[in-house]
């Protein structure tokens, strides 16, 4: 009898502390453990490592990894290749962002109209996005090689050395590649944003005598602004994180590091050369950079 009397308030107490379905905690536990193991802990480890002279020794060997304060960070700002890789990200963004925003918005507006073959076009523009970078890099290498189709078509005006090993063209080529590969995704994003523009805005514009171009500028462009913010932020994240493209498309960030990316540099210093503490510091700097740029973009694009 006494036990029954005791359990009722206890159940209520548990309910108050853990919610109506405490078993829910058990259900999310594996996923929460995964988030800690694969995101939270490594994030902390990256910050920790970046303050130490953390290098890879032979497995099993006990080595000293002294605390070095901000040394890894000051080294990064004096590292010519790292600075060059940041410059390459800027080149990437300057080409990729305007091209992506302009092309995907125009394409989305066109595909939003009732057109024959609309489904086919959506598929066509989306296919590069679902294909492995490694697979499509193969054909780009062939297309833009010295004796490739593009140079065959261009004849005497073909650049020498060819595109992907040309110091001027290597980085823009990566930006064009990424634009082509990602465009379908952004078109779909804008298509969704277009559905949220009330059609009476277009009606009002046409009553006021606005043509197609005017209503595009004054109704469509402001109407999809949140999507534009998202596109710019996602492009920044992609730009700060590409690896496969400089590694394979331009033969390891070449020529002369003219297309090296921060992540490729991180891979070389951290994993090839074993200087993991330094590579972790680059990772932390990159993350901070991406967050700051995203916030600034958001602020600029969404002010009003």
């Amino acid at each position: 009898m006494a036990t029954i009397a005791a359990t009722a308030p206890r159940a209520r107490r548990i309910r108050r502390a853990l919610g109506r379905h405490p078993v829910g905690l058990l259900f999310v536990l594996p996923y929460a453990a995964f988030l800690v193991l694969v995101y939270a802990y490594p994030l902390g480890l990256a910050v920790y490592m970046s303050f130490y002279d953390y290098f890879f020794a032979a497995p099993g060997a006990v080595v000293e990894r002294p605390f070095v304060g901000f040394d890894n960070y000051t080294t990064a700002f004096g590292d010519a290749i790292f600075l060059e890789s940041l410059g390459n990200v800027v080149t990437f963004l300057v080409i990729n962002v305007p091209l992506t925003v302009a092309l995907s918005l125009v394409l989305a507006t066109a595909l939003n109209a009732k057109l024959p073959l609309r489904g086919f076009f959506r598929t066509a523009y989306y296919i590069p996005y679902v294909t492995a970078s490694v697979a499509v890099i193969g054909v780009w290498l062939w297309l833009f090689s010295d004796t490739g189709l593009v140079n065959s078509a261009l004849g005497p005006v073909a650049p020498a050395p060819p595109w992907l090993v040309n110091e001027f063209w290597a980085m823009p080529m990566i930006a064009f590649f990424a634009t082509w590969k990602q465009l379908g995704f952004y078109v779909v994003l804008y298509l969704a944003a277009l559905q949220n523009i009330p059609s009476d805005l277009y009606d009002a514009a046409s009553v006021d005598g606005a043509g197609a171009l005017k209503s595009f500028r004054h109704v469509t462009v402001p109407g999809v602004r949140p999507a534009t913010t998202l596109v710019v932020i996602l492009s920044t994240i992609v730009g700060a994180n590409f690896f496969t493209e400089p590694y394979l498309l331009t033969g390891g960030g070449g020529p002369n590091n003219s297309s090296v990316s921060p992540v490729l540099h991180m891979y070389r210093r951290g994993i090839e050369q074993g200087d993991a503490g330094y590579a972790a510091a680059i990772g932390v700097l990159l993350a901070i950079g991406v967050i700051v740029i995203s916030m600034v973009n958001r602020f600029i694009l969404e002010r009003d």
Binding site: G24, A46, S133, Y247
Partner: protein, 271 residues
């Protein structure tokens, strides 16, 4: 009409590299001239597929890609359905924190975690050249968890309460009521999750040095950067490998694009 023509030209330009991959993979002698862009019966051969199969052991590397992808999909479904159902339908302390953490990780780029994950998985756990090490960082696709949560959110509570009144435990409710009605969400999650590990290059590249354990994307990339220079028709063989790598993802996408595009949208716009 002009619009349609412009769209068609753009679409063809977009698809041309795919067409050219297939054409190039079937050429006996690589022909990079304009005439090489058209299939020619006189220069047709399956030699490149044989060459890439000999270099990479396509059966084995495809199997590795398959195991990597299947492992990620299974873990995503198991952990994701549990978490998605709980986050949508159960009331417990910490739900908000977990949900916010989940949204946060959608924007953490993998590359930032590359070095510490490498330290953990290769150095701490000794999981280099191991399927488990390959799968672990990708084990649960956060987008899929988000899809499950959104799906269960729009199911009325009464449906689950009926089973609860009949004395079913929460796990039985999930297994007998929630999962059977979630088929559309499960299909969407599988499709969206598939292209991640199937196309992934960086992570499996970092942790597999043995070719017999490499997924096709990694083996082909290594072929492009190391071996190709010594092969008879390097581009032909690369393009043959690229075709084999691209076909499963493209076919899956074309067959299921209605689901695919909506899911991508749902997770990125609402997220």
């Amino acid at each position: 009409m002009a619009l349609l023509a412009a769209l068609a030209a753009g679409g063809l330009l977009f698809l041309f590299p795919f067409y050219y991959t297939i054409v190039g993979s079937l050429q006996l002698e690589p022909n990079a001239d304009i005439s090489g862009a058209f299939p020619s019966p006189g220069n047709f051969s399956l030699e490149n597929y044989a060459a890439i199969n000999e270099a990479l052991n396509l059966g084995r590397t495809l199997l590795n890609s398959g195991i990597f992808t299947a492992g990620v999909i299974i873990a995503t479904l198991a952990l994701g359905l549990l978490a998605g159902y709980a986050l949508a339908q159960l009331d417990f302390r910490g739900r908000g924190v977990i949900f916010n953490a989940m949204l946060l990780v959608l924007i953490v780029p993998f590359q930032l975690l590359m070095i510490p994950l490498y330290v953990m998985i290769v150095r701490y756990y000794g999981l280099a050249d191991n399927y488990l090490g390959m799968i672990l960082p990708f084990a649960v696709n956060p987008t899929a968890v988000f899809i499950f949560r959104q799906f269960f959110k729009q199911i009325p509570v009464d449906l689950f309460d009926a089973a609860r009144i009949d004395g079913a435990s929460e796990f039985q409710v999930l297994r007998r009521v929630a999962i059977p009605i979630a088929t559309p969400a499960i299909i969407t999650a599988i499709i969206v999750t598939f292209i991640g590990p199937w196309n992934e290059f960086l992570w499996p590249f970092l942790i597999t040095k043995e070719q017999s354990l490499q997924p096709l994307a990694v083996a082909l990339a290594n072929y492009i950067s190391n071996v190709a220079a010594r092969a008879a028709n390097p581009f032909g063989a690369i393009l043959a490998g690229a075709t084999v790598l691209a076909v499963p993802a493209v076919v899956l996408f074309v067959a299921t694009q209605r689901w695919f595009v909506q899911a991508q949208l749902g997770s990125s716009v609402k997220g």
